[in-house]
Assembly symmetry: C2
């Protein structure tokens, strides 16, 4: 049973481990099919919202805001809190309206006013609905610890939609007692002109923190990431290189050209139905951006690239047709010299598509599990994740998992795209922009072993419980290598503690999903006195490869492959 830091207002509100979350999702294809989906993660996934907590049939939601106008609160079938009296229900129902109601006795603030109050020095303000609250004095006592700081100067709405234990009378009353004003919510609707390539970007979940908006690149808060064995689709990081194309299921076509090797000179086209008629194969695979954790590397010396935290990774079940079946059907035979090139429907300003390639040996290997995926965690792909087809290349850097796949070429050379040739490659720490020769390094395919501490967060104040603190995170290695072990230390490596792993039972070499890990890490009396503690995590994969200790010696000018020990400094309380 994995241990979790629960963001609870009081102990009795902790969610039962068996409670599951119903996720409301809309197809991002614009067809707006509302479907219920039951997540059944490997272990005791508790928090990703519960179907009923606090005993009231209250509206709550958690879905892609494809179209705000279409968003509606959804009524739960039945109150489930047996002890709830009608009186209590009435009081809670009333309390749930407070944050939607203007308090005429209080001043009005703009979003900008609130934004300025994001740390203890300036005061910590948050908003909920149209309520503005000063939680400066409450923050140190927040039962969920410093997680409250994720919303400092900002809205708590998206967090409370997930951490449903806040939706009780007690908590709502407490919040209202901090109220200092009303929010003047002038929503700056970022409408691009018609005809702009950005005009039809999909709406994204509020919790995805953008590293860049155009193209859209964003990651979820990592403390949430580490709570779900299968990353909820709407919290899955988004890495787009170009504007998101609009593709309808009806118009979709995938071209396959065999340009070299056996099956040479054949060409054929598949529509979405053709692909769906092929045997359906499901593989669990973590997809990780080559620049995940770049923000840690850049502290050593600046690098070029989006400043990703440790959240540019997600783990999902991908379903679709196996690429090996498709290729074999076209007469393609194993040939060590050939590559498979993928092109997306996303175009750069010169009308060149995003492109990448992988060795044919990976594509043809049934154990390689490369799929032309049309489903992610049992749902149709959303537009941000490649609707209608994304090629999933398990164990391989995200950049080769081409979205909006429209063309496959079997060729005797790699993709000549910028992203294959002049990006996503590793170099020595002493290679700089004056000396770099992208032709000399190999395009990243399988990724090296890595891990991250999802909780506690850096600078978080952590409660010591009977001489221990709870730490959890993820670990993953490329190439289908299973995680063998995750070791933690809080004394600079003098003593190491082995974390408990949660992982699928897939065999090594085909273990493409990530592993979650957790540990109750012992803290000495001495350490408690010093109050500050640095926690290090290092993962070991099935080839007994281990993360490097520090970023200094793996630094590279593009800030990719940032897989050094994850080190997090926390404060003990």
């Amino acid at each position: 049973m994995r241990l979790r830091l629960l963001t609870t207002a009081s102990k009795q509100l902790r969610l039962g481990n068996r409670q599951r979350h119903r996720l409301l999702a809309t197809s991002a294809s614009g067809q707006h099919q509302q479907e219920h989906q039951e997540y059944q993660p490997g272990g005791s996934r508790a928090l990703y919202a519960a179907a009923a907590v606090g005993g009231i049939g209250a509206g709550y939601w958690l879905f892609h805001e494809l179209d705000k106008k279409r968003r509606q609160p959804v009524e739960l079938a039945q109150p489930q809190k047996a002890t709830s009296s009608p009186v209590a229900l009435d009081a809670e129902e009333a309390a749930r309206l407070w944050h939607k109601t203007k308090r005429t006795d209080l001043p009005t603030y703009s979003v900008e006013d609130v934004l300025k109050h994001d740390k203890p020095e300036t005061g910590i303000w948050v908003t909920y609905g149209i309520g503005v609250y000063d939680v400066t004095e409450f923050a140190p006592n927040h039962p969920g610890g410093d997680k409250i700081m994720m919303a400092a100067g900002n809205a708590i709405d998206p967090f409370w939609a997930i951490y449903q234990q806040h939706n009780t009378l007690d908590v709502l009353e407490l919040l209202e007692s901090f109220r200092i004003g009303n929010l003047n919510k002038l929503e700056a609707i970022e409408n691009d002109e018609l005809g702009s390539p950005w005009a039809q970007e999909p709406k994204r979940h509020e919790l995805l923190k953008p590293a860049s908006k155009r193209p859209f690149n964003a990651e979820p808060p990592i403390s949430m990431l580490g709570e779900h064995f299968y990353t909820p689709n709407e919290l899955f990081y988004v890495r787009n290189h170009l504007p998101v194309p609009c593709i309808s299921a009806e118009d979709y076509e995938l071209e396959l050209e065999v340009e070299a090797g056996a099956g040479k000179s054949s060409k054929c086209t598949f529509n979405l139905d053709d692909i769906k008629k092929l045997p359906k194969h499901t593989v669990t695979a973590a997809i990780m951006c080559g620049g995940n954790r770049r923000s840690e590397m850049t502290r050593i010396k600046p690098v070029k690239g989006l400043s990703w935290g440790a959240g540019a990774v997600g783990n999902a079940k991908w379903s679709g047709a196996r690429l090996c079946d498709v290729l074999r059907a076209q007469g393609v035979e194993p040939d060590e010299h050939l590559q498979v090139i993928f092109e997306g429907a996303d175009l750069d300003p010169t009308a060149h598509p995003y492109g990448a390639s992988i060795p044919l040996s990976k594509a043809l290997d049934p154990r390689g599990d490369v799929v032309l995926a049309y489903e992610m965690n049992g749902q149709p792909l959303t537009r941000d994740h490649g609707y209608p087809i994304r090629v999933i290349v398990p164990g391989t850097v995200g950049a080769r998992n081409v979205k909006w796949l429209t063309r496959i070429v079997v060729a005797d050379h790699e993709s000549d795209s910028h992203w294959q040739q002049n990006d996503y490659k590793g170099f020595s720490p002493s290679t700089d922009w004056d000396t770099v020769d992208f032709g000399k390094a190999q395009a990243i395919q399988a990724m090296p072993v890595t891990s991250a501490i999802c909780s506690p967060m850096p600078e978080e104040r952590v409660k010591v419980d009977k001489g221990h603190i709870t730490v959890y995170g993820y670990a993953w290695s490329g190439g289908g290598r299973r995680i063998e072990r995750v070791d933690l230390t809080n004394d600079g490596g003098k003593t190491w503690h082995v974390a408990k792993l949660e992982q699928e039972k897939e065999p090594d070499g085909r273990h493409y999903g990530w592993s979650l890990w957790s540990i109750r890490l012992p803290v000495t009396d001495e350490q408690q006195k010093q109050s500050e503690l640095e926690i290090w995590a290092k993962a070991v994969d099935s080839a007994y490869n281990v993360q490097p200790e520090s970023f200094e010696n793996i630094w590279n000018l593009r800030g990719v492959l940032a897989n050094a020990y994850h080190k997090v400094k926390v404060k003990l309380i």
Copy 2:
């Protein structure tokens, strides 16, 4: 062109890069077939003896001393030094007898006397034939640098047999000028009683430095290791767990039993001819002991195990039948849950054979290149290397490459042997013999990325040439992962320099051979003044996994997987 530190007496004696070495080998099976073999290593292999140097048809040899009585000098066809006059030839011929001749004017010393003189403080003595020489004052001026110290207190014979440039009149005269006595060579013939399991151990090359004698475990000097892309068979490290069995080609039988999965309950037997009749497949693979470089790890904190240096690895071409062909012919189909168990003819005192296992997926994969090898570098296997059949599992720790293979079982479980279950596994640095649970760790299969500096050696005095020193070594990663890069630093990681690689063109995932690397490493004036320098090497493989920086955080109680940066301190002259 790779750069090499040449052990030369004078510059004009350097061997041409094109010169190759003829190796005289005896089959270790006791059949004593003397065969000539031409090595054609990948790059500019210069030193491993040359067919003719110095212009005389002198007897020289380099072969397994299976039976000393049978050893005979071999005449080379023709003198090749055009400038040699008959007079010079006569003088050299005479000089070549000096070390075989007793000098009545000098005292006689025992092997033990010589052994005590192995460092400058005690004086440095060496022997050659029956000559004893005091080279204390010469050693600092040895053109080959501190490599002379490999023979301190010992015989130079095996080194000179390889570094043929010593066999010239000038050098022989110089040596004789250091003569201080005659060696009383009372050869302690280690004859075991008849019936002892050790009675029939093969003879080994003198340069193999034993880590243990019974069972025999030995590695070559690593400066030599790094000179040959394909490790000469007689210099290939030997890792035996038990006495070497005696198997004749006629009596050899290999049993294959399919105990689980498709083909279940079939059983068949192959003799050597059956195996040789199958299609012959050759794969270049480095084999590495799980404990390679343990001696470095043990410096941090003692570990249990043989104290291997960095020489418990070798690279060879292995030829034989592909295991996947053999298994397919028996109806074995892919099944992720099955294992292939190997048993050797070597028996422990309770009559249990050495055993190991690998996943069936590796055995069945044509890209896995598992072979039932009967040849090593084009020669029949020697007894020490598994005659007549060793299973070669490329990319996988040496321990699974079972020698004297007599039984293969396709089973639903791993080998229950000690070596699979309770050895060759990795643990956290804080796991000790009180807390270790071998059941909780995965048996090592694919090995992690590693590298070693073969030259210069630790404490070697290295000449700075135009602001540079020459450094070379090997790098390898398990699982068929190609070496992408080897980085060197001599300023603690402030600046890194990328070495030149020599490697086969095999595709990634199937790149089982090692890579040799070399570099002219710049040395600053500042560093030259300080005279001591520490060189670090780190390799990066195709999954961009990198060696860990230090042994502290990868220490494990068995001292396996010792793949931290290789750090060598040298003295500059």
